[in-house]
């Protein structure tokens, strides 16, 4: 179940003791994953996998190099140190190389659960079995994946910095499919503590959507009022964060450059709608995350407050260049919600579409942060404040900037999985106007 703190200290010190370079950082990750996968209502591939990774970077002045190995014997470690030191000596000087961080204080991690770590393959199978049996009873095919991870992550450096964090988590999602009528439904959950894991309601939601989405009809594409369930919201919101770098803006190659006049700063401006509030907090009990990013401490950080951009991510070198504090990339994202149920959001819509989740999101145009992707596994018409019949899926082309500008109302936050990335996110369903449904997809 991962290296203990003293084992990590001992191993990281063993590595650092071998290093003769001016500076060194060593990161050790050690994990044991239980992977249970099924399809057509039977277990398919599965596994119990343990692994360790030692990532060492060394520097001579502004020359540096890094190496990764996954064996801890003395011979491998010595060879790795010798190799990486030789590479660093040969590397040209990097004017932007930053020295190792000084030891510092970090928030207390909240990411570990003994119960999750103790989950056995037998117990995992026993939890999945009733969900599969429910699918069989309902006459649908289900495919799903449960992954339990337990891990430790250590960072130590030649200046005496040492930080150790253990984490656990269970990710579970399933897709239920009705052969007749081509219905498809999906649901998911993501927890840190096993006590919060309840698979059967998740399975029931997917089955219900599969049955309800049979015989979907085509609805005309176009800019549409939509209710986005949390899985769709998390994908769209997370895309915004890939564009929130201070350096890209300063260099003129960010979507933010198109939103402000030349010479104007984006921070402090109301770039989004008033209902958009986004922050990160490593200790949030709903979505705890890593307390540092490459050694930079993470703290509670406001990114967007009632539509106003509050902060940008800043790397260490760029912070030094600009005379400001660095700000690490967040480890979680929390979006404030208004606490409404999805039904209450739907009740506000005269004519629109309910979207369960999105798929294959890809950047189309970085200048406007335009992304494309598709709806999937449960897309329904909304008519006169109620869920109507199933409609065929859509391709969308839109920017998270537009979505955060067009929020009409929001619901109660949930922690679910998305299609892109597994960062813990706690987001509400959103009622959004003018979502650009670009074309119809025959996928079901």
């Amino acid at each position: 179940m991962g290296l203990t703190k003293s084992q990590s200290e001992s191993l990281s010190q063993r590595v650092l003791d071998l290093v003769e370079a001016d500076g060194a950082n060593v990161r050790i990750t050690d994990s044991e994953d239980l992977q249970l996968r099924y399809a057509n209502n039977d277990i398919t591939s599965n596994g119990l996998v343990d692994r360790i990774k030692i990532d060492l970077s060394v520097s001579y002045g502004k020359r540096s190099a890094s190496i990764q190995v996954n064996q801890t014997d003395e011979e491998t470690l010595k060879a790795a140190v010798k190799k990486v030191q030789a590479m660093a000596k040969l590397a040209p000087e990097d004017p932007e190389h930053m020295p190792e961080l000084e030891p510092t204080e970090y928030l207390e991690p909240k990411t570990f659960s003994e119960a999750t770590a103790a989950l056995t393959p037998e117990e995992g199978l026993a939890r999945i079995r009733p969900v599969i049996e429910a699918a069989r009873t309902a006459g649908v095919d289900s495919a799903g994946y449960l992954e339990r991870s337990v891990s430790s992550a250590t960072l130590a450096n030649s200046k005496g910095l040492f930080v150790y964090q253990t984490s656990t988590g269970v990710d579970y999602s399933l897709t239920a499919r009705a052969a007749e009528g081509r219905g498809s439904g999906w649901a998911s959950t993501q927890v840190t503590d096993l006590g919060d894991l309840d698979l059967e309601p998740v399975g029931a939601r997917a089955i219900e959507k599969a049955l309800a989405s049979k015989n979907a009809v085509e609805r005309a594409p176009g800019r549409t009022t939509v209710v986005l369930e949390p899985a769709a919201v998390r994908d769209l919101v997370s895309l915004l964060f890939w564009g929130l770098g201070r350096r890209d803006f300063d260099e003129g190659r960010s979507f933010l450059n198109g939103l402000v006049e030349e010479g104007e700063a984006p921070v402090g401006k109301a770039l989004f709608g008033e209902k958009a509030t986004l922050y990160s907090d490593p200790q949030d009990p709903a979505v705890p995350c890593g307390v540092h990013h490459n050694g930079l401490p993470r703290e509670k950080t406001s990114w967007v407050d009632k539509g106003v951009l509050k902060n940008l991510e800043v790397g260490r070198f760029w912070a030094q260049e600009k005379g400001i504090s660095p700000r690490p990339f967040p480890g979680n994202i929390i979006m404030a919600g208004e606490g409404k149920s999805i039904d209450e959001l739907i009740a506000q819509v005269e004519d629109g579409v309910l979207i369960t989740r999105l798929w294959y999101l890809r950047m189309v145009q970085p200048q406007s942060l335009l992304y494309t992707g598709l709806t999937r596994d449960g897309t329904f018409a909304i008519e006169n404040g109620k869920v109507g019949g199933p409609v065929k899926n859509f391709r969308f082309n839109d920017s998270p900037v537009n979505i955060l500008r067009n929020i009409i109302a929001s619901g109660k936050q949930a922690r679910v999985m998305g299609s892109e990335g597994s960062m813990p996110m706690y987001v509400p369903p959103l009622l959004v106007s003018d979502f650009n449904l670009s074309s119809v997809s025959d996928a079901s």
Partner: protein, 549 residues
């Protein structure tokens, strides 16, 4: 295109490269070759004694090296190696799998026990037992032929080559430039209860760059990425690339793109270069014809497919000139290998996916062919991306074959278009979970007017339905226009696995394809203008590989 120069059974040649490797893991790997037989016997005997009807034992070592240069600063010098083993068992019709980086008799015993326990944990509630075909016992060694082992080339040489790219781009006026190269060596040992004992080694390399030009006053920027694909090749792939010339051309093209008029959306004829079309082949033909997807095994992640078994030999997937072929034996192919990760020999297993426009076969791993009543068993498409990954069905090299007339050039295809676009380089890509609706961009969009290139467009994406698209193909380049594209990072499976795969293609002409204006899609009001006539910055002369001279 399909030279089969295996080095099977020649152990000295098979291990020749090892002598130049860098770390103690080299010694470890060499030692593993000696230890492998004993460990495998122990693992397989243990599995059978615990009730396994089939078992296999895998060892895998992956070595990587990557360099990254930003402008004239070398910011990434990285090496890495991972090593580990796995055991897969079939017990009472259920799979079990376990893996570890620790390679010891005690650990392997515990892996076998864990794998068997997981398989037995499914007893009593499986609806269908997993059944696999009997495979021949394959014994031997195989190595991908390369000219220069990239792991033996000096760091200085590699760094200087990347710096040369960036200097060229900056000298031509780029505001920013990244260049990079990634190199991978995979070594695999496989033993199974059918009697197979194989040892394989292959190398791949991916060099590239991206340049950006910025207009601070307008708040605009444009980028252009390199078009050299990754290959199953040695350092010669980077060495022989005229990247300095392409970097300078890329800057010129990015500037032209930034100043170009925005495209008017609607139906247009397209000529698509192999540098773009390989990815369209991948997404609209490669993934839909994976049998595991079609049968629902990927339903919760990658999706299913419009290509269902009932459409075999009947679906008109493309026009009559469209032939798409699959193999794991092509020269320099990223999916090329001697035996797949189920132990199936790949030579002789090549197959057409689309023959004269008709859907002809699926990609299959072990245990799948019988599910659709197909004779001949697996066609060698199993792959595990790491020592700790369960082998699943992955893509072979899948390639669009040249048209019947070898004399047809890219210019000939362009000459047949009155008003259209010549698309070069791959950009953004997205497709639905059953592979109907796709949308792609590119790097450069040359306007075609009256059969000739005439300036550029910006803000272009093409969107359509896979089967409609291939049926709209009415022209293909000849043999001399064939190029091998590909990617290191095709994703599939839960947990996610990435596979390297190549796709050969010739340029193709497609009639009346839906063009989107991406600026309009983002909500901007755009005035579409005719392009200013300018000398073309395109060299679409075709040839065996992209040439930007």
């Amino acid at each position: 295109m399909h030279r089969r120069d295996w080095i099977k059974g020649t152990s000295a040649a098979g291990l020749a490269l090892i002598t130049n490797r860098w770390s103690a893991t080299a010694a470890e790997a060499a030692g593993l070759s000696d230890r492998f037989a004993g460990l495998a016997e122990m693992a397989l005997n243990k599995a059978q004694s615990l009730g396994a009807s089939f078992a296999d034992f895998h060892l895998m070592q992956t070595d990587k090296e990557s360099l990254f240069v930003r402008e004239e600063m070398v910011q990434g010098v990285n090496a890495g190696s991972s090593l580990g083993c796995s055991v897969r068992v079939l017990v009472n019709g259920a799979w079990g799998f376990a893996a570890s980086e620790e390679i010891s008799e005690a650990k392997i015993t515990s892996l076998v026990e864990a794998a068997v326990a997981t398989a037995k944990g499914q007893a009593g509630w499986r609806s269908q037992p997993i059944e696999i075909e009997k495979l021949p016992a394959n014994v031997g060694k195989w190595e991908l032929p390369i000219e220069v082992d990239p792991f033996t080339v000096s760091l200085e040489e590699k760094v200087e080559r990347l710096l040369g790219i960036n200097r060229s781009a900056l000298g031509a006026g780029a505001n920013y430039c990244y260049s990079h190269v990634s190199m991978v060596r995979e070594r695999k040992w496989l033993a199974n209860t059918f009697g197979s004992r194989t040892e394989q080694s292959r190398v791949r390399i991916h060099p590239g760059f991206s340049i950006t030009v910025v207009d601070q006053k307008k708040g605009e920027f444009a980028s252009r990425a390199s078009m050299l694909p990754p290959r199953g090749a040695g350092y010669e792939h980077l060495r022989d690339w005229d990247a300095v010339a392409e970097a300078a051309l890329a800057v010129e093209q990015a500037r032209e793109k930034m100043a170009a008029p925005s495209v008017k959306p609607g139906k247009m004829d397209l000529v698509i270069a192999p540098s773009n079309l390989w990815l369209t082949v991948h997404e609209t033909v490669g993934h839909p014809t994976e049998l595991d997807r079609s049968l629902g095994y990927e339903a919760n992640y990658a999706g299913t497919s419009f290509c269902t078994p009932d459409k075999l030999d009947t679906l008109r997937y493309g026009s009559e000139i469209v032939n798409i072929f699959a193999d794991r034996t092509a020269d320099n192919g990223l999916a090329t290998i001697g035996w797949d990760d189920d132990g199936v020999a790949t030579a002789g297993k090549e197959f057409p996916i689309i023959k004269d426009g008709i859907f002809s076969n699926f990609q299959m791993a072990i245990g799948q062919a019988e599910l659709i009543g197909r004779e001949g068993g697996s066609n060698g498409c199993s792959y595990a991306d790491s020592f700790d990954s369960f082998p699943i069905q992955r893509m072979p090299n899948i390639s669009l074959q040249p048209g019947k007339d070898d004399a047809v050039t890219t210019q000939d295809l362009i000459a047949g278009v009155e008003d259209g676009i010549y698309v070069d380089g791959n950009g953004s890509w997205s497709i639905d979970q059953q592979r109907y609706n796709f949308q792609f961009t590119g790097q450069v969009f040359h306007r075609i007017k009256n059969g000739k290139l005439d300036g550029m467009y910006r803000d272009v994406a093409y969107q359509g339905n896979s089967v409609d698209f291939w049926n709209a193909c009415d022209g293909l380049g000849g043999r001399d226009t064939y190029e091998l594209g590909g990617a290191f990072n095709c994703g599939k499976g839960q947990p996610g696995q990435v596979a390297p795969v190549s796709h050969g293609a010739v340029p193709g002409r497609f009639r009346q394809i839906n063009i989107l204006n991406t600026a309009e899609e983002s909500g901007k009001k755009v005035a579409s203008l005719d392009p200013v006539q300018s000398p073309s910055t395109c060299d679409c002369s075709g040839g065996g590989k992209t040439s930007w001279a």
